[in-house]
């Protein structure tokens, strides 16, 4: 792992932690936007540019704007303190979860290894070999997204549509006015 990668991960964790401890919701949202940008760069570093692009557009862009609109419509707790008070039961649950998850760490294949089941799987090599020939596009991610797993993508489109319908139902409207 390079220094750059390490600094990046440290930045992501720091901004993630900041969203949790900042008492001011606006501060928390800004920290979250920074976190999203950081994680988008992590995706790019991990050779997932499509995911990086989406994360940047969605996490740092759309989600942040929606959060800001929401607090513009609602309230920010007044800032008598900078940091949240520590909630011990919640911390206990979080630590327990991390501890349980950490027990699986040794069993996970090393990141970046060429011999992991994901990298060597029949499915992965099939996609890489046949995407251009069967789906006619150079970007295998797009080929898998729209062709091989097109049904998932239909579901994804329906989820987006559902969010729209959902907001209409929640606001009891017929149109986005």
């Amino acid at each position: 792992m390079s220094t750059l990668e390490f600094a990046l991960v440290a930045f992501v964790l720091a901004t993630g932690l900041a969203t949790a401890v900042l008492r001011d919701v606006l501060g928390s949202i800004i920290a979250f936007a920074a976190y999203s940008l950081g994680i988008a760069v992590v995706w790019v570093v991990l050779q997932a540019p499509d995911v990086g692009l989406t994360e940047a557009a969605v996490g740092a862009g759309v989600t942040t704007v929606l959060f800001l609109l929401t607090i513009a419509k609602t309230v920010r707790p007044s800032g008598e303190r900078t940091l949240e008070r520590l909630d011990l039961p919640a911390l206990g649950v979080a630590v327990a979860l991390v501890a349980v998850l950490a027990t699986t760490l040794g069993a996970l294949p090393p990141v970046g290894g060429a011999e992991t089941p994901v990298a060597t799987s029949e499915v992965t090599s099939y996609y890489l070999e046949n995407a251009y020939h069967e789906a006619g596009v150079e970007n295998v991610v797009t080929a898998v997204l729209a062709a091989y797993r097109g049904f998932d993508t239909l579901g994804e489109a329906v989820v987006v549509y559902a969010a729209g319908v959902g907001v209409l139902v929640v606001f009891q409207r017929e149109v986005f006015a």
Binding site: A20, I39, W43, A90, L105, V118, L145, D152, V167
Partner: protein
């Protein structure tokens, strides 16, 4: 110990993000921050998948780039999951705006009180 840990540290980051997200959803009283926590929780899982797809020295799964390529499948899954995440966030924020219009507060503890008075 370190030898076993170093190549897997990204998974540990995943777990820590899940921990932070969990903490925020339980510990933070402000509803907006709970939703931010939900987003952190989800991105933690995204990292799990993207890290699993990564191969040292490989290029993105675009055929114009030279082989070897990283596995495209986890990327596709996470693209879908990101979309799901933003949709959930949008609906959650819609609900929050409505809750605020009705109760004038976003404090989860106060809202539970209000609810029990109904």
């Amino acid at each position: 110990m370190i030898d076993a840990f170093a190549p897997r540290y990204l998974y540990l980051v995943t777990f820590l993000l899940l921990g932070i997200g969990t903490y925020m959803m339980i510990g933070n009283r402000n509803l907006v921050k709970k939703v931010i926590g939900m987003n952190l929780f989800q991105t933690g899982i995204f990292l799990f998948f993207i890290a699993a797809a990564y191969v040292e020295g490989a290029s993105p799964a675009v055929l114009t780039r030279e082989a070897p390529h990283v596995s495209p499948l986890p990327h596709v899954l996470i693209l879908t999951a990101i979309v799901v995440g933003v949709s959930l966030t949008a609906v959650a924020l819609g609900l929050i705006v409505r809750i605020y219009a009705d109760y004038g507060t976003l404090d989860a503890d106060v809202l539970w009180e209000v609810r029990h008075d109904d």
